[in-house]
Symmetry: C2
Subunit: 315 residues, 2 copies
């Protein structure tokens, strides 16, 4: 991959037309905000541009997706936003990975699958990079672009609660408010609105909480029976893994989610002193220092004992 | 009250020494952040300055209060921060209301009790005004001041979820990060950390949820038995009134909290189309359009029926 800077990325986009922008599978606010903001900016320059994702986009992003209808054209230039590696295109769009012309991303782990790429790991959200590319394209953001860019920053920083929320994240967010973004509403919709199924699920999950090691480890369970009972879908389980670590005094929060009978997906969230990725690597998983995951087989109590024991070694 | 601007307020502070800075009763992050940031700045100028509050400061603000010990001196100049009216000094400090020399506040409803005052209702937090006064004093914020100013912005905007979070709020927050504020940690401690008692209480409260009017009204109960069972104190119930309105589709969230046997404090939180204050005025209560309260006597089911019926009229 040939590394380009903001101006070079803008120049590449300026030189091309019929641009297809690809989001990663299991789309989140940052890949959606990035793709839609860039798409809107390119259309403002008179170009054919569109967005595509292998998976359905969750309904809560309707305020973005409903305002930029798809248009038909033969793609001639392929751009990826917030995609760190080939496997994140999703099965349906996997064939685009090898022919991506320009990759715009903020993951330090980016595999360099594209022809040209701009990867800035210091950006809290990919939309921060997108906002600079849009500026370099000479486009002044309208409310739509401002909302989309703001959405990426808000969602990828956990409403400014993660350490990737830098001064630049706040300044770009401020600029987007000036361009009309409804930041307060976006933060509320993304972080303060829960479906009834989610409320019911949280209730059951809180019923299941177990504490270990003098309350420094908290474990919650999400079982197939809970999902069936509440009617909760995958969207409703988003962020639940953050719940146990939020309990005062808890250093490691473990979420054990039943994938199928005897197969459990483990999410581990830790405070600064515990390396979550190191724990999960023991079970062939991985991730970041404060958030990692792995898959374990067995019965639920046995799975719980094994992950708790390994986590306890780090205390 | 003689209105002054930022530079005039700074000049008044420069001309005086032995400055006592008063916080409002039931102190929150904004009055605490304002008083402590200003106090630290004045001490950096070599002045005697201290802070005082009629009520105890909650433990979660220890990262501010523990770093600026009190010092003894005879107060000669009285400053209030984030205090909208005389009654908010609290009983113990009520005598200061009539002799306040300088009032720094962001409540449009400020009663003008002081000799000089700077009241900027466009500021999302009082610490935004404080940060400008500190700058006009020629003081460069250190990490302590930056954390205190950031805390005010974060807490008074509900972690940037209320509409008072303006572009300026974000820009001053960004400046504070540059001066060393640990914004992500402050946001997590203020909004993402829950005591075990609080977690237990939320579980019981969610068990109690009732829906009315096609799920547009949600009611939760906080009973004395729940508080006893969980060991939760008043601090643990903070913000619980926000829970029912967060449920998708709910237009009015009602919290019924048992004060004593047969006496219930009602908190009503509504979306834009329902006037909470109008509902609560019917029961001799009051408040704002989206958040109001009143007190009702009777048995719990009866109290619930009456407040739900009155709220339903507004749907």
């Amino acid at each position: 991959m040939i590394t380009v800077d903001i101006n070079e990325a803008a120049e590449l986009l300026r030189q091309h037309d019929n641009i297809l922008i690809i989001m990663h599978r299991s789309p989140d606010g940052d890949t959606i905000g990035s793709a839609y903001a860039l798409c809107a900016a390119l259309r403002m320059l008179g170009k054919n541009a569109d967005t595509v994702c292998a998976d359905d986009i969750p309904q809560k992003y309707d305020y973005i997706t409903s305002k930029l209808p798809h248009i038909p054209f033969e793609p001639q230039y392929i751009v990826s936003t917030d995609i760190a590696g080939e496997q994140l295109f999703g099965e349906e769009l996997a064939h685009y990975a090898a022919v991506t012309d320009l990759c715009i991303d903020h993951h330090g782990s980016n595999t360099g699958f594209a022809r040209y790429g701009i990867v800035d790991a210091s950006a809290g959200a990919c939309t921060q990079i997108i906002s600079k590319v849009i500026s370099a394209l000479g486009v002044t953001p309208d409310k739509f672009i401002a909302d989309a860019v703001f959405t990426g920053i808000s969602t990828d920083t956990g409403c400014f609660k993660y350490s990737n929320a830098t001064a630049e994240s706040y300044r770009i967010a401020a600029d987007m408010l000036d361009f009309g973004a409804d930041g307060a509403t976006i933060n509320r919709v993304m972080f303060d609105t829960k479906s009834r199924a989610r409320i019911e699920l949280e209730r059951l999950v809180l019923d299941s909480v177990r504490f270990y090691e003098n309350d420094r480890i908290a474990v919650i369970f999400i079982t197939a029976a809970m999902l069936a009972q509440t009617g909760a879908d995958d969207g409703d389980t988003e962020g639940i893994a953050g719940i146990p670590r939020r309990i005062e005094g808890v250093k490691a929060g473990i979420t054990i989610k039943e994938k199928e009978s005897g197969v459990y997906r483990i999410s581990l969230r830790t405070t600064a002193d515990i390396d979550a990725a190191a724990v999960c690597r023991v079970f062939d998983g991985g991730g970041h220092k404060a958030a990692a995951g792995c898959t374990l087989c067995g019965d639920a109590d046995d799975v719980c004992s094994r992950i708790v024991a390994e986590t306890a070694k780090q205390l």
